[in-house]
Assembly symmetry: C2
Homo-oligomer: 405 residues x 2
Amino acid sequence: MAVTHPPFPDIPPVRGFRLATTACGLKQTGAPDLLLVEMDPATTVAGVFTRNQVVAAPVTLCRQQLAAGIARALLVNAGNANAANGAPGLHAAATLTRRVAETLHIETATVFPASTGVIGVPLPLAGPLQAIPDLAARLQPGDWAAAALAIMTTDTFAKGAVRSFSLAGQPTLLAGIAKGSGMIHPDMATMLAFLFTDAAVTAPVLQTLLHRAMADSFNSITVDGDTSTNDTVLAFASGQCGAPLLTDPDAPQAEPLARALNTLCQELAQAIVRDGEGASKFIEICVAGARTPAEAKQVAFAVAHSPLVKTACAGSDPNWGRILAAVGYAGVPIEPDRLSLSLGDVAVVASGGRVADYRKEQGEAVMQQEEIRIHIGLGLGDARHTVWTCDLTHGYVTINAEYHT
Amino acid sequence: MAVTHPPFPDIPPVRGFRLATTACGLKQTGAPDLLLVEMDPATTVAGVFTRNQVVAAPVTLCRQQLAAGIARALLVNAGNANAANGAPGLHAAATLTRRVAETLHIETATVFPASTGVIGVPLPLAGPLQAIPDLAARLQPGDWAAAALAIMTTDTFAKGAVRSFSLAGQPTLLAGIAKGSGMIHPDMATMLAFLFTDAAVTAPVLQTLLHRAMADSFNSITVDGDTSTNDTVLAFASGQCGAPLLTDPDAPQAEPLARALNTLCQELAQAIVRDGEGASKFIEICVAGARTPAEAKQVAFAVAHSPLVKTACAGSDPNWGRILAAVGYAGVPIEPDRLSLSLGDVAVVASGGRVADYRKEQGEAVMQQEEIRIHIGLGLGDARHTVWTCDLTHGYVTINAEYHT
């Protein structure tokens, strides 16, 4: 079950990146589970990682390597998270990156690893180690759909997006792939996203732009409120587009790249929600009239995390009382008499009470749709924030109660 | 569906309290939905209410009246929460308490109201207003089972508990009834608890003892993390036991009452969890080795709120990775290498990694039981806290997605 989604887009090759995928035995289904991307020299890298204090071995390695800002390869496996494996887990991740480095004749510290899958199970090394030379021999520009497939776990569709724009008159591309269908899910549905651009941008500037792009994308979605040990977003810039190096994140020259990063991350984040475990509906929650954006976000997430709101959406029930209750316990000071609430275009609550001519049938008509927009007004200020989530269905319980480690 | 629970206990009459119940048409099933309790003069009262900022009209009234510390009657209706009804809601609550006062010839401000049921629907007054004189005519000591039944909504069993103890050589009773099967659930499963004792205790001392009893009872349970607009715990003390008035919450004389309140509240709170919506398992989460009790509680609730942990319990999956991940995102600084974890008596994780001789079959044997105990050691200090919750099942989704306002 997944919310309706567009087909995988037609993403052209991005200069400076070559990729290959294979099945190395980590997924019991025999599906592709290993992705290798090789990058031109001088490719810069930026990264954002899980806030969980229990982190997977590849996250630890990536964080260490990020300081240098240079990447030559990315190795992603699906089927095993290599998390909660202690020192042997770090050793396993290092062994794989070393094999990639030896094979491609690059520095080990420029190989970025990522893993997703079962937690607490030692990562089997034989399959990946054997597959790496073969992958290296088959590197080709541009099969992004295959790359997106190889990093999937419980995802039901491959997720990718592309932006083309111009930097100093030079046509430039930004391609992205992502996976993750529980948000964020320590077993099988860690959120991973990898972005590839031929823009020329310093690592610190790329880091700043990537960080900014998180707020209205991956940091504004939730499926079940759980935060994975493995969540990783990495952005790579090969510098091959021919435009001058971007050295200031706030310069007008950087704006096309910033805008591309923002909109592409939002598109990938929304695709993850549409593929939320068991999701049958896509829900947008916009909180306006807050004193600060942070308070708007806190209220929006309280509503988005509420199992009662999520089950009401699943049941097409215009249960606005559950929404008001979640607003009330969000931990943000509010004035109940100023609250307003709309479901889609239907005004339901004004000044804290039910709108006089609201009829339940109007709310039901909105809630029966596959995409539900909930607009909450706090009446306290001008700040707003929007988050995206999905409904809580029997499918979610089935996936997570009946899937066994 | 509910976890196995003991039958309703045999609770004797408590001196100073007379009660009656009836069906006044608020529950569509025609089941009893109105409870009236009359209390002797000089009965003291204490109360604890929802932390939700959106509160029901009866909660507002109770809070106002609590300052005087005197109660003569309690009126509880089930089937309509009288929440999010604005000024007309307050008027409705006041109309009912005034009718009780007129009927019993007492002060209106000594009548405490409570409501549970659908939110945002005006409270129909005709039925309750007509029923109150009849209830007043039928007041009798002691049918606590009927009282517990009349306040139920989605509960599948009536919840009551009793403690008998001695104050200054005088036999004293504490009786309690409670309802609430989602915790805490704005539509139909608000948590309500009412405690009745013939102890003689000042209102401020009763308030202090009640407040202390919350920490390890109603404030340490969760079903779905939602907080109702109506949650109410009220304690009434008639002073009829014959012992001297308790005027110091820390005096040795107060200790039997304090202990009775603590253990009775914990028993009622656990009963609510056992009747959690769709619950098939009762889960105890003990976090030890924390720096402070507050941090222990924060970690315990992160685990208790995790949909992934709750679905793993439903599926009898010893998925310790999900538990460690929830510990990691709880927002409390931890040292992952010091974490330990046991399922029941089975040690699963030590020093942050899987115990060498742990076998999955051992964990499964624990998780298949109807009562699951999860013990988490942080290795940082001596503080601990225990919370109770239930699993997340298809039953929960059915109740909340298919129930309509």
